[in-house]
Amino acid sequence: MREISESILDILMNSERAGARKTELELFFSEREDIIGFEVRDDGRGMSRETLRHAADPFFSTGGERGAGLGLSLLKSEAEQAGGGMKIESREGCGTRVRAWYRASSLDTPPVGDIGLTAELFLSGRPGMELVFRCRSDTLCRECRTGAGGGEAPDSPQTVCQRVREMAAEIIHGK
């Protein structure tokens, strides 16, 4: 992938296919630890132990002809190439958590790119989808959300996409 935000979209599409109604996306950047990465957590149907064991194998797919089985394996190899890694946790019937991280100073780490566009496309045409977006750095932690749920009133998808862009810029460029 040319951008981390494209990898994020790919993982978000997995969440949608798994029937998720709520998805949490966290973008993290630590200058101190030289790490940048993301975590996607969903409440979809999750994976069995057997599926989870093979989830990051290339060409392994539960989607039959619909899937090439390359998404997670590509993410894992890209992250490892950039001095990072990928971890998947899943429970059948409960949901899945995918975390990928890269060494921030590695030349092989792709730019974060337009994460606002990723959020915008993911939310378009999915009015029932709740997206919680969190940004975390050594000194900052910000959050916004769309859809129902949570203690505070949800933001509109347009507001969330704009906030996602601003928050990502804030933690990465320290603006």
Partner: protein
Amino acid sequence: MAKSTAELQEMREQMAGQMSLRVEDKNAIRVVVGMGTCGIAAGARDIMRVIVDEVGAHNATHVKVIMDGNNKDAENAPVVEIHVLGKDTVTYTKVDAAKAKQIAAEVIGEAK
């Protein structure tokens, strides 16, 4: 179960509403962008953006732009399909931003 005339009338109105929605959906031109892993890696996200922007700019409400997470013709990604009721599906492969703009213009023209 027996229903009163009023209940039946209410059901009829509800069903009529659903039917008209279905007819509208059928008439919509569906632009499907392949957004599987291979599609995204080949730049389908930007293609989707171009088409959504063009359709929005022309307020073409009869055109529905849809993301499809399945991998279609991965080696020729990005792939864009045009579905029109009663017509064969048209598939565009290796779509770039210029082609996407052209596809959107053609589809919007057809939707008018």
